[in-house]
Amino acid sequence: MKTAVVVFPGSNCDRDIAVALEQVTGTKPVMVWHRDATLPDDVSLVAIPGGFSYGDYLRSGAIAARSPIMRDVVDRAGKGLPVLGICNGFQVLTEAGLLPGALMRNAGLDFVCRDVALTVGETRSIFTTGYSAGETVRVPVAHHDGNYVADPETLDRIEGEGQVAFRYAERVNGSARDIAGLVNTAGNVLGMMPHPERRIEAAHGGDDGRRLFEGLLRAVA
């Protein structure tokens, strides 16, 4: 399976996600620079990595979401291409309008950097086939702006449509309804604050993150 990773100035998890994708798919992802106009035609997944694109200027992910490559990402996502945004990537996807809501400063104002327990949502999307619904997994978070916000009608709709892919099983950042990750209505775009790419082998303390990529590979390939 051929994949791509979008790299912005200030991305810092682009190499981590590239390692995870290469280990699971057996193929090195294509690294796509933010100024490129298009993704390669033959990719089956595009990842928007974590980091601090454009130094979080204006709002986290705001400038990256308007970069040239994102026009093609939005276009291809609309045609069904799977898109995975992690941490800053989640922020970029909300700013680009691919996912509802916004990610604001953590409720405690602290940068939160630790392993957290997540509950896998009921949603059966291509991104969660490696898990059982309702299962608890441990994946690290590292963010300052992970406090998910949306108006009550939007939150009801997201939950009603079964778009919540992961919830925090403990207090982390004040996110509305403990939302840690969600998919779009079509189910081909996932944004999540926790970092599955940082939990892919025993040396990381477990492989709960790897299962996301393995499930995705089975679902997409």
């Binding site: 204006l58 308007r66 909300t94 700013e95 916004a102 604001m104 104002l109 004040g174």
Partner: protein, 76 residues
């Protein structure tokens, strides 16, 4: 032409930074502070005759995230 864009959080959106400021002020002994909200002020220098519609578009497309923020445009 100079423009000032005020970007503020929508009412009802929790503002942890504002809360921290409110608490810090009361810690300094300013007991009469009942709220603090943090926003942004963006100064733009644009071509004379830039249309209101264009400035509105700049705010909607980039300067404010209308999911959580309101904006107000003032001509200097």
């Amino acid at each position: 032409m100079k423009l000032t864009i005020h970007v503020t959080l929508k009412p009802g959106v929790l503002d942890p930074q504002g809360k921290a400021i409110e608490h810090a002020l009361s810690g300094l002994g300013f007991s009469g502070v009942h709220g603090a909200r943090v926003g942004k002020l963006i100064e733009l220098d644009v071509d004379e005759g830039t249309s209101d519609a264009d400035v509105e578009a700049m705010c909607r497309k980039l300067l404010a995230n209308t999911v959580i923020e309101n904006y107000r445009i003032a001509r200097a």
